[in-house]
Amino acid sequence: MLSNIKHYLSVYRKFVATSIAVNTSFRTSFVMLIIMDLFTFFTTIYSIDFIYNHIDTIGPWGRNELLFFACFMLMIDNLHMILFSESFWELSFSIKNGSLDFVILKPLNTIFSVFFRYFRPSSCVLTPLYIFYLIKYGNLVGLGTLDWVLLPFMIFSGLAVLVLIEFCFCSAMFWVTEGIGINFLRLQLQQLSRWPNFIYGPLARKFLTVAVPITLIGSAPVHFLLDKSRYGLFLAMPVAIIILIFILRIVWEKGLRNYDSASS
């Protein structure tokens, strides 16, 4: 088991090293990606800020609570951009042109070799900014010591829920001819998760908690951090992660069997 983990870590180190080498050789793209992330960050923050110039609360939350939530989601987004986002786009292309053959032939778990292959170093540049704003609004909403200890764990749990949902959806690419649409669907799910669950009506909220549990990504942990009596959704996170892993193994296996290798 331990040697297996060591083996996968050594492979992942190579994945990261090659991704850094590729990304830094196109310097203009590297800089533009940083600017793009900056735009995303500030437009999100200022959209919320402008709304709160005219109202006091949205649902139970004031300006600082919602901005803390937004920073929490942006932090998850930043990690997602660094670790996974490139691999999703690559998957749709490699299924279409058959280059996935070379990936699945490797003596590695295919989920690992498909979704952990690409690393985006440009997004790391802005990570300190995301952390700074998360700490700033965390202080403003009065997080306690235990909350700060729990925060990194919650961010990674939220990220786990997000990517597991996305992995499941991306398995559908094996059944369609053009997989880019699935990637757009994935982006829309992210879009829905970027707002707290209370903005949605009862039916939509139930759907987005049970059927496609994207409200567990940010709403569950942030509600718990701000109000310890709201632990229900937070406790549902590990359950959702286990169920999603189970579903992923089934759909991924079926998807791979359905893959007909365009180039062979």
Binding site: F39, T43, T57, G59, W195
Partner: protein, 265 residues
């Protein structure tokens, strides 16, 4: 006449290409606008339900929902086209064929844009009927609709030329999708597609008025909602940008061709 036939055939082929993968088309083109509207609908309903005041910067809940319904329809017509293939054509050396064809590169992509607009207008029309049926959009006159629609078509030409411009930069850049996404993020934020410009700080709106962004969403929405806006200045500004972009794109195309290495030939 021969030229018209070439245009017509290209429009027809593009139509077939756009609609070949219907699920993909729905998820890629309609899905984002639909989800964007869904989020805004829920967000503003939630805000107004909690708010003590029933009017926020001149908007009641009904007017706010109507604003975002129009934003949805306008985004379908005005900001749908992405010119995704354009930069790929350049990067992968596919424009070599266009240099030999008796049908130019810009003609091919403009014909593709026209067919795409045809589909989008159809979808926008159905959406408009649906929104009217469920009363999110209240009554509108034919005259207002025609004016708003004409202005939106002008905006769509501007948007196409902007996308064309970013695509042409593939002569110099490895990845142009980043520029397209950046443009999308900035324009959504600055055009009033997320929140009406009345909610932005006044100094900020004054600066924005010197840019084309408010004309992408906010102005067409105001026209469609029958509000008082300076139509002449809007048309003049958008047309000036269109003319400017035509010249810039021509210039970039000529400069870019000098760098073109016809990869894969």
């Amino acid at each position: 006449m021969t030229n018209f036939l070439k245009w017509w055939q290209t429009v027809k082929i593009s139509w077939v290409k756009h609609t070949a993968y219907r699920l993909n088309f729905f998820l890629q083109i309609i899905g984002p606008s639909l989800v964007f509207f869904f989020v805004k609908y829920n967000l503003w309903t939630s805000i107004f339900e909690q708010s003590a005041t029933k009017v926020i910067q001149g908007y009641t809940l009904d007017q706010m929902l109507s604003y975002h319904a129009w934003a949805f329809i306008i985004s379908l017509v005005a900001q749908g086209h992405g010119s995704w293939n354009l930069s790929e054509d350049i990067r992968l050396g596919r424009i070599s064929s266009y240099l030999i064809y008796p049908f130019n590169f810009w003609e091919f992509h403009t014909a593709s844009f026209i067919s795409f607009q045809g589909i989008q207008i159809l979808i926008a029309g159905v959406t408009l009927l649906f929104f009217s049926y469920i009363s999110i959009i209240s009554s509108f006159s034919f005259e207002v609709l025609l004016t708003g629609f004409t202005f939106t078509l002008l905006v769509s030409i501007f948007w196409f030329l902007t996308q064309y411009f970013t695509g042409l930069l593939a002569f110099w850049l490895e990845e142009t999708w980043i520029l397209r996404v950046m443009l999308q993020i900035v324009s959504v934020f600055l055009s009033g597609a997320i929140i009406p410009l009345e909610l932005y700080p006044e100094w900020f709106v004054k600066i924005l008025n010197f840019t084309p962004f408010p004309y992408l969403s906010y102005y067409p929405i105001q026209i469609m909602m029958g509000r008082d806006v300076s139509l002449v200045s809007g048309v003049v500004i958008i047309c000036s940008w269109i003319v400017g972009l035509i010249f810039i794109n021509k210039f970039i195309w000529r400069r870019g061709l000098r760098l073109y290495t016809a990869a894969g030939m």
